[in-house]
Subunit: 383 residues, 2 copies
């Protein structure tokens, strides 16, 4: 930790702040909820890619293993003592050698696929590598992206392809109800959560009735994980963004804006007073280009602007962004701003649309408690 | 360069490809154009943050120095032998100590500001640091973001604040006509280029008539730099994305799609055949969340999909993206795809909306010539 200042007011800008108390509260909320339903979480570390955040999650309890979105994450977390890893993006043969190396080093890594042809390709490559891979079948429970239909013949065909050889071992099914990001009411989130759960249980039951093993039934997204009220038959719940939360999550009413643990600290570099603009040094390189609230009833631009302490300043957003410039204004373009609220060279905090994409713009997080800097946590990137 | 394969077909995915011949052609095009107008370029390295790309730009000729968007870039390029640097984002006092350290190490770094109050703050901090800073006044020539009005009294007030002391040295004016990204015809780009040039010349003339030095008149954006036809009085032209080009630039008719030197290599991981979807492993983490063509007459989604060799496959785009999943389909949702064009585990190339934001998602570029990998060039990130 090189020359990290003692107080937020002394930090270089832009930088990415994590409020530790909010982080711990968010972690506890999901860990407790899933624990009360008799289940465990397999947190998705793609959100932060941070060993330190993951240790906080483990401290929160009810953790089974981790989920990763890249083999770089798998490698990094394995090197830091995490061995129970689900790589939750459909595998391709060109990634299998690296998976084999991880397994041979003692990493208990699981891979996913969603069609018989890929199962066949993976089997062929596994034979060449003389390695046994643990495989989960990805299910499409919401029409959102990849996955096999839980009611299809193809599901059984995949299992058939994987069984009866020493190179591929079917361990279960997994799904992610990404469509929950379009569910704005509790009722719709609960309905989506039940659909995610019930279709996964159906697929598992169909596999078992056809004579195949299906020990694991893995589901989850931050909105459905918080909404679900019964997890009988489910062996793990995956979620990522719940540790930080963000404006997409508060827009979906999964949390309040006050729960958002991540913000970008920015400095005021100038104004265009005739346009009611405040210009900051946090552009899209800091916030990311994510416009996840664009489809919400309240579009938050590139982020909600608060004061240096994180308190509300009124309805100010980053209305536009260049690479290293943020253009801040009131939601009402005719509404001005006070210089007291936005002093020249003063600092503001910006709450992000999407914690995963904003986090990925930074090499590290600055962990804070009130106005103090208490730690600097590195993260990884790349593939 | 650790285990970089010989052929594109052997590369891990996703990765970011640079076609060297196209890069060199793009560089030569602007260097020659600006050279023919009797001027020089100060390339903006924010696009690639790569020493190797910058060396190619210097090989192209007519280069005066470099432009950076962060002090991290300034530090990195100075450590690699580049000393004539313009840091083109409005300075704040909290960044001045780092600038002073660079200057004391021999870096000829110039900073910018756009209002008298910041000039005053910088002067005060400069006195404390006992260092003389070279300053350019940022002009607003297009209403796009920051900068002082070239016709305003404030312009002269800034100069007055900077002159007559040993800590701040006014060296000139600079502007960036970002509104050129809304100019879809040659005529509108040329008009914007003339406006950018003429308002900068006006500001320089007003400063000189008021008795202040204004040696440098620095202008530029990739669209206006290519459009401008006379640079008399202009001392340097800044541009960044012209080295790679991208779908925003081809949408603006600054280049053809065939000129785009950057692409993301992705693998096909599956399909949703009933929806005519091909799923790849290049999601928004690889492409970035940039949707720069969203406002164009042709919205390219998250990128245009070509085959492994970079040849057109038809009108296929990355229609939607999750963090590590790209959803590819024909622009017409009812139009299918052939498995021959998108074989399972096969590779495709995706042309990006915005080269700067896509480049920032990667630690390095894979440099290719036809089907061969010829180099791996690292880049930097952060602030």
């Amino acid at each position: 930790m090189e020359q990290v200042p003692e107080f937020i007011s002394q930090l270089p800008t832009p930088c990415c702040l994590i409020e530790k108390q909010k982080l711990q509260r968010n972690i506890a909320r999901l860990s407790n909820h899933i624990g009360q339903l008799g289940c465990q979480i397999r947190p998705h570390v793609k959100t932060h890619k941070s060993i330190d955040v993951t240790r906080e999650i483990i401290n929160g309890g009810n953790v089974k293993g981790i989920t990763v979105s890249t083999l770089r994450e798998a490698q990094h977390f394995f090197e830091h003592g995490f061995s129970d890893i689900l790589y939750a993006v459909g595998i391709t043969p060109n990634k299998l050698e690296q998976v084999a190396q991880l397994m041979q080093s003692g990493c208990d890594i699981k891979i996913v696929l969603d069609n018989p042809d890929m199962a066949n390709l993976i089997l062929q490559t596994a034979q060449q590598l003389a390695c046994t891979f643990k495989i989960m079948i990805e299910l499409d429970t919401d029409g959102h992206r990849s996955g096999v239909d839980p009611k299809s013949d193809e599901l059984i065909e995949i299992a058939k392809m994987l069984e009866g050889n020493e190179y591929t071992q079917l361990i279960g099914v997994m799904t992610h109800a990404g469509e929950s990001y379009a569910c704005f009411t509790h009722e719709s989130k609960l309905a989506m959560a039940k659909q995610e759960r019930d279709l996964s249980l159906l697929a598992a039951e169909r596999l078992r009735q056809a004579g195949y093993a299906c020990d694991e039934v893995s589901i989850g997204s931050s909105p459905t994980a918080h909404a679900i009220d019964n997890l009988d038959g489910i062996t793990e719940v995956r979620a990522g963004v719940y540790v930080f939360f963000d404006l997409v999550m508060s827009g979906l009413q999964v949390c309040n804006q006050e729960d958002i643990a991540m913000s970008v600290l920015a400095s005021v570099i100038g104004y265009q007073k005739d346009k009611n603009w405040v210009i900051t040094d946090a552009g899209w390189m800091a916030m990311s280009r994510d416009r996840g609230t664009q489809s919400h009833s309240v579009d938050q631009g590139y982020g909600v602007v608060r004061d240096q302490q994180g308190k509300l300043l009124g309805d100010y957003i980053v209305n536009d962004a260049n690479q290293e410039h943020g253009i801040v204004r009131h939601r009402d373009p005719n509404h001005g701003f006070s210089i007291d609220a936005f002093p020249l060279a003063g600092k503001v905090r910006v709450l992000p649309n999407h914690a995963c994409s904003t986090a990925a713009q930074f090499d590290h997080f600055i962990v804070v408690d009130q106005d103090r800097v208490i730690a600097q946590w590195p993260s990884v990137r790349g593939w």
